[in-house]
């Protein structure tokens, strides 16, 4: 499952859109040829030269035939008209146009007054997938780990095996640790697969240490498994367990800074974000993978600490809930 999830993610998300219909309109401007050539060489855009003026371009955009048009005017200025209904498409087009313009200016020995320096962290053109991938890896690790343990006791309660194990005088903590140990073998395999596919399969940058990343992913998995065990120790049926798990999944996706930075979440909701181990982990994953940070940075060691603390707290709650004598 996690392998499939991360595969689908890598295949579907973050690829540059191609085949976008785009018109470049000639107004007999001297710059036209250079810009049209520059845009033509882009893989994302399919350039249409047959559109004659801005009005025609606007009507073609309105009817959905074009994503946008660039009018190259006589006075040396440019007008970009866009269908802005899809932000990713827009940003792809804007990047292409900017690159073509920069190239033309460079050929004339000129440049924009703003120079963008080599970034301290990350790549020159940060891809959306590079921001998203660490978060999605966190999400996948968290989700499958919860699912591993959520049903642990539901079945055992129902079929009487839990009665039998408790009859032998075992302590709830022994039973919990037994489950944790057994599922950890699966966890280790799954986490390795997720990291290997992301980093080696989809070339998602990993600037930091693979070992640090792997260990943090394991800790996150344990935190999630302990949470699953806690839910399992309380739930009386599979239905009840699912009822608790499903509403947890969505906030994890939305509030953990996986899709959108936590800083953009209303202040009143931010405490919820920081209560989730996934928020700390997503921050740390990004720092390890893009910035190349290690345990010496607080973002990273705090994530280690929070996950470990979360795991122990959940295990303690589960041990209190799972009573030998009910």
């Amino acid at each position: 499952m996690p392998a499939l999830q991360i595969l689908l993610f890598g295949l579907a998300i973050g690829g540059t859109p191609t085949g976008l219909d785009f018109a470049v309109i000639d107004d007999d401007a001297p710059m036209f040829d250079a810009i049209a050539d520059g845009l033509n060489s882009s893989e994302s855009l399919v350039i249409h030269l047959e559109v004659k003026d801005e009005t025609a371009a606007r009507s073609k955009i309105a009817s959905g035939e074009l994503w946008g048009a660039l009018v190259v005017r006589n006075d040396g200025t440019l007008l970009l008209v866009l269908d802005n209904s899809n932000q990713q498409v827009t940003s792809t087009i804007v990047v292409e146009v900017r690159e073509a313009m920069t190239a033309v200016l460079a050929a004339q020995g000129a440049s924009l007054p703003l120079e963008i320096a080599e970034p301290v962290y990350g790549e020159r053109d940060p891809a959306f997938i590079d921001f998203l991938a660490p978060g999605i890896m966190v999400m996948v690790c968290f989700m499958f780990s919860i699912i591993l343990t959520t049903m642990a006791f539901v079945g055992e309660r129902y079929d009487g095996t839990l009665d039998r194990v408790f009859a032998a005088g075992t302590h709830p903590l022994e039973v919990l640790l037994g489950h944790l140990t057994a599922f950890s073998t699966i966890l280790i395999g799954q986490v390795s697969v997720v990291i290997l596919i992301a980093v080696y399969g989809f070339d998602i940058p990993l600037e930091g240490s693979l070992f640090t990343l792997f260990t943090l992913a394991l800790l996150l998995g344990w935190a999630a498994m302990c949470f699953g065990l806690f839910v399992s120790s309380k739930a009386e049926s599979e239905f009840q367990a699912m009822q608790v798990i499903m509403p947890v999944m969505f906030p994890v996706l939305l509030l953990s800074g996986i899709l959108w930075p936590v800083e953009g979440i209303p202040l009143i909701l931010q405490p919820v974000s920081w209560a989730l181990p996934t928020t700390w982990s997503a921050e740390a994953f990004r720092s390890i993978m893009i910035r190349g940070w290690g345990l010496e940075h607080s973002v990273v060691w705090k994530a280690f600490l929070y996950n470990a603390g979360f795991a122990v707290a959940m295990l303690w709650l589960a041990a209190r809930t799972l009573k030998v004598r009910e």
Partner: protein, 280 residues
Amino acid sequence: MVAAEDAIRIVGLTRGYGRGKGRIDVLRDLGMEVAAGSIYGLLGPSGCGKTTLLKVILGRLAPESGELRVLGGIPGEGGCAVPGSDVGYSPQEIALYEDLSIDETLLFHGRLHRMSEAAIRQREEWLVSFLDLPAAARQVGKLSGGQKRRVSLAVGLLHEPRLLLLDEPTVGVDPELRARIWMHLKEIAANGTTIIITTHYIDEAGQADRVGLMRNGALLAEGAPAELMAPHGHISLEQTFLLLCRRRPADRDGSSAAEVDGDDEGAEALAAMVGEEVVG
């Protein structure tokens, strides 16, 4: 007065599930004594509280009120190896891990009781031949219902506990093997093991040292099979049971109308059960 030879002594035990409107009383003011080294047969229709009673004795369920002493201690409290290695429990559900083989199942439970591997193997060899179990390498999930039940019983017997709680261990077991199991139970009881066994087979309960007829969470009557039958002038345990059930509603003091209704239902269920036994 506490008789020293009592392995189990229960006074005024009450236990139910849930609270408020949804509450169900399962055990009501139940009293019971089981002598060490005896076999106690617990008889009654399903839903009468037999399993709940066993779980209370086992220390898996806490009593809401009443006194309970098992092997001289209070289950689940310090110094009492119940739950623990003093008790062997064979639940009504099969309660085995389907993915394990018979061998692995016994090894797992043996290790829970800190038995050495050699000791487990020795017991395993004996249990496999005694209970007529299939090859020990067979996976539990692939066994028949009757075979699973015998493995379940084997787990209960494995560590030779001082107290055996067997919840319907002979359902679906053929008569010849059933007789052999009872013979073994009598043998280990003679050596000091205390056994509580619930059963649907009334004739089987006749072999117990004492029988408790249980209904609606209380014991209707308790005694040696012969003692129970004598005052009623009936020749079989079934008929004694039936007679007791029919008389009971009138005997009960202060019982509400609803409870009497419940009793009637119970009596019908019992009559049906006894009828089946007679026909069978």
